[in-house]
């Protein structure tokens, strides 16, 4: 493999890995904030116990999300220096602002939240986790603005003297139409993911509960979580639908690649799955929903959807001529079709499966029922993974569907890589990071399972007030 391929593998591995922890962080911080506020309002201790229990799991997850995020901030410069030179004037600003607005907020107030149980008033303490959550939203907004610019560059002009894209309208970058629909799509799927995580764990404990008190503790977590999954999923579907139409407009090749649609069709069908050659060019068997692709892409069941072959010709005409000089290479402008085809289906399919399981959990726990048996166990174990993996496949689709472009229409991935990067350096980096991440995954999962199994703890007794300033810390590492 050449350095470009190795750098691509590294970006894919480190980014998909990082984004396993991000949606849980976003979703879970909101849910924990909800628990703590509910406790403040009701003084019902169950909510405080849930706050502390899920708070521990949150920290185990957050820690690995934070440290793997450091790589994200640096690898643009390390592996993708030509990309960084070309886009820095536009792309750097949201990244820097993310650090200033979001990372400081998250890290500082999380420190206060972890260690501040006995130092802050209960209201202030709850405000800390709310601020952590707001920090995660800021973070999501700015990094998605940067990514949306790569999907649909706006608010810039190409400067032939400096050979780079230069920003001339920051508002256009921040309120890019791709961004305005991507942000709700990503954040709502993060809520879905965080809630599914909670439901899975709480359901597992509910099934094992032996006392009424235990059931009364876990049931509200299961039911509120399942409702959040369903409501957030509704938003994910609506925003995803709008996103599909915008994508058809700004990156028609990506929509054609989602279906493996080679020839322009009107109306175009959506295949739920198909068998045939791997690239979908010749199918032997498929299950199709008539007109669905037309509906996803254009909003009407009879709309025309352009196929890969026609688009390739159009792209050649548009980009064959030269806007970006050194950064352009004539390719065939087609992403890897099997990957886009199946990642698109897995995103939708796993998300929908998550919805179905959450709906079933709500039905099975209706009234005061506590379902038993294997299906509940299966639901509890499967649910956390369904929206989580749907997130991963969604990103794999989004990023692979943009190929061969790094910045759509402006710069190819091939031309983004650091020119001085040697194959040896690239391998050292890829192998080191993959090995470290692999070991950390094992450590993290084991730790997570240990603390999930320990379950929700009783509240420790309040110490008498006269121990005063010299009493032990409320929390210590």
């Amino acid at each position: 493999m050449d350095p470009t391929d190795i750098a691509r593998w590294q970006f894919a591995i480190t980014t998909v890995y990082h984004f396993l922890f991000v949606p849980i962080t976003i979703g879970l911080s909101a849910i924990i904030a909800g628990y703590e506020i509910t406790w403040l309002r009701t003084r019902d201790e169950r909510w405080l116990r849930l706050t502390k229990f899920f708070g521990k799991l949150f920290l185990i997850n957050f820690a690995i999300g934070v440290v793997t995020g450091i790589v994200q901030e640096f690898q643009f410069g390390m592996n993708w220096s030509d990309y960084s030179r070309f886009v820095g004037d536009v792309f750097g600003a949201p990244l820097a602002i993310e650090g200033l607005l979001a990372f400081f907020l998250e890290s500082t107030f999380l420190g206060l939240w972890i260690f501040g149980w006995d130092r802050l008033s209960p209201r202030l303490h709850a405000a800390c986790i709310v601020l952590v959550h707001i920090g995660t939203l800021f973070s999501a907004y700015f990094i998605l603005a940067a990514n949306s610019w790569m999907q649909h560059p706006v608010g810039y002009s190409f400067n032939p003297d400096t050979g780079r894209a230069e920003m001339n309208d920051f508002a256009a970058v921040l309120f890019n139409k791709v961004q305005l629909v991507t942000f709700p799509h990503v954040v709502l799927s993060a809520y879905m993911t965080g809630a599914a995580f909670v439901v899975g764990i709480a359901l597992w404990h509910l099934r094992r509960a032996t006392t009424d008190a235990d059931r009364a503790l876990h049931r509200p977590a299961v039911r509120t979580g399942a409702w959040i999954v369903l409501v957030a999923a509704l938003g994910v579907i609506v925003s995803g639908d709008v996103q599909g139409k915008i994508m058809t407009e700004v990156q028609p090749m990506k929509m054609a690649a989602a279906e493996g649609l080679y020839e322009t069709e009107q109306p175009a069908d959506f295949s739920v799955f198909q068998l045939g050659t791997l690239d979908g060019e010749h199918e032997t068997f498929s299950v199709k929903v008539p007109g669905l692709l037309s509906f996803l892409a254009t909003g009407t069941p009879g709309g025309e959807v352009e196929g890969i072959n026609d688009l390739r010709e159009q792209y050649r005409e548009t980009y064959g001529a030269d806007p970006g000089a050194a950064y352009y290479s004539p390719g065939d402008y087609t992403p890897v079709i099997p990957l886009t085809y199946w990642s698109f289906r897995l995103m939708i399919g796993l998300g929908m499966a998550g919805v179905a399981v959450a709906a079933w959990v709500l039905w099975a726990t209706r009234g005061s029922r506590t379902p038993q048996g294997r299906p509940v166990l299966a639901a509890a174990i499967a649910l956390p993974f369904l929206p989580l993996l749907a997130n991963s496949f969604g990103w794999i689709f989004t990023e692979m569907g943009r190929q061969p472009w790094a910045v759509f229409g402006l710069m190819t991935t091939e031309h983004s890589v650091s020119p001085g990067l040697t194959t040896t350096e690239a391998w050292i980096s890829l192998i080191t990071l993959t090995a470290v991440y692999g070991v950390l995954a094992v450590v993290e999962v084991r730790l997570m399972l240990t603390w999930i199994r320990r379950g929700v703890e009783e509240l420790p007794p309040d110490l008498p007030a006269d121990t005063g300033e010299d009493r032990p810390l409320a929390f210590a590492y």
Partner: protein
């Protein structure tokens, strides 16, 4: 002042923030095997930085992001050029950050011992390599006329850079010892204070050598003043440590590091990465910069939000101002008391 100069100053401020703050939490990590005799004492040390180390590290992320935005060429050349040292720093920061959080999560001595080693090496590697990296930036590296780094890994290992690495290491150890002296009580506090005085002496020797060498290479009047004041602050820190004035001593190393970093940036200006090649090109605040439009937006953002960040980060240190000693450490690494 030119906007590019403003951003050169702001990047310097971000690095000053990073080294003065994470400097002491690196020091705490480095001194973990030296100052603590048992697990409870190690926990005392770790808990002095527990609530703040992550916020300290964000200064690095913002310095990186701000360099990307304000000087894209600098970001691109520096990070792709210093590839392997940066990779080592990243790996160190990854495992070190997890160690603080995960160490206490299993009641198992072997598990804790492994994470203790991770904390030590995770603090050692960046403490040395940041000094090596900055020395190389000051000294100049091979950069060709396309502004690409044209050297290899071994070009970064030279006596001047290694002296830089030892200097940051010694300063961070001293800074950490004084932080522990300031933030703990009991035996550890005394051990830290006893260690601080010779540590100040060692770092003074190294710092004078390194900063003097820098001054002689690329120094300006401004950097000379900053270096002399830094040395004076370090000597005062030593005197304060001897006199048992821990607050003043810690302030002394804080100011020392801030002035030393300021002096390095003054010695660098107006270059950001000088080239050692005759037919190469140096990166400067002008040819590495973003457009004035982007710099204006970034300036407004920085002016509005930096004071806010300083305010709430400062408040955190106030909230956790109490000294910690062994009897404050709960028996198990879990909560012992409810909310107040």
């Amino acid at each position: 002042m030119e906007l590019t100069t403003v951003w050169f100053v702001l990047i310097a401020v971000l690095w000053i923030g990073y080294f003065t703050l994470e400097g002491f939490d690196f020091g705490v990590g480095l001194l973990l095997p030296v100052l603590a005799r048992d697990n409870t004492e190690r926990r005392v040390m770790i808990n002095t930085i527990g609530p703040v180390w992550d916020g300290n590290e964000v200064w690095l992320l913002v310095a990186g992001g701000a360099t990307f935005a304000a000087f894209p060429e600098w970001y691109a050349t520096l990070f792709s050029g210093f590839y392997l040292p940066l990779l080592m720093i990243l790996v160190a920061l990854i495992v070190r950050g997890l160690a603080f959080e995960y160490r206490a999560k299993r009641p198992d001595a072997a598990w804790r011992a492994r994470w203790d080693r991770v904390i030590f090496f995770g603090s050692l590697v960046p403490s040395v390599l940041w000094g090596v990296a900055f020395a190389n930036i000051l000294r100049g590296v091979p950069i060709d006329s396309d502004l690409e780094y044209a050297g290899g890994f071994l070009d970064l290992l030279n006596p001047y850079a290694l002296l830089g690495g030892l200097t940051t290491l010694a300063l961070f150890v001293t800074h950490g010892a004084l932080f522990i002296a300031l933030k703990t009580d009991g035996e550890i506090r005394h051990r830290a204070r006893r260690l601080a005085v010779p540590a100040v002496a060692v770092s003074a020797v190294l710092a004078v050598a390194f900063l003097g060498w820098t001054q002689q290479q690329t120094g300006t009047t401004g950097s000379a003043i900053a270096f002399v004041l830094a040395a004076a602050a370090l000597v005062s820190a030593g005197a304060a440590a001897r006199a048992g004035r821990e607050g003043w001593a810690f302030l002394g190393t804080f100011v020392t590091i801030a002035l030393a970093v300021a002096g390095l940036f003054l010695a660098l200006f107006p270059d950001v990465m000088p080239s050692t090649l005759a037919d190469g090109a140096s990166l400067t605040t002008t040819n590495a910069a973003a457009t004035s439009y982007t710099l204006r937006i970034m300036t407004v953002t920085a002016v509005v939000f930096t004071p806010l960040v300083l305010a709430y980060q400062g408040w955190t240190y106030w909230v956790f101002r109490k000294r910690i000693s062994t009897h404050h450490i709960p028996s198990a690494p879990v909560e012992t008391a409810g909310t107040r």
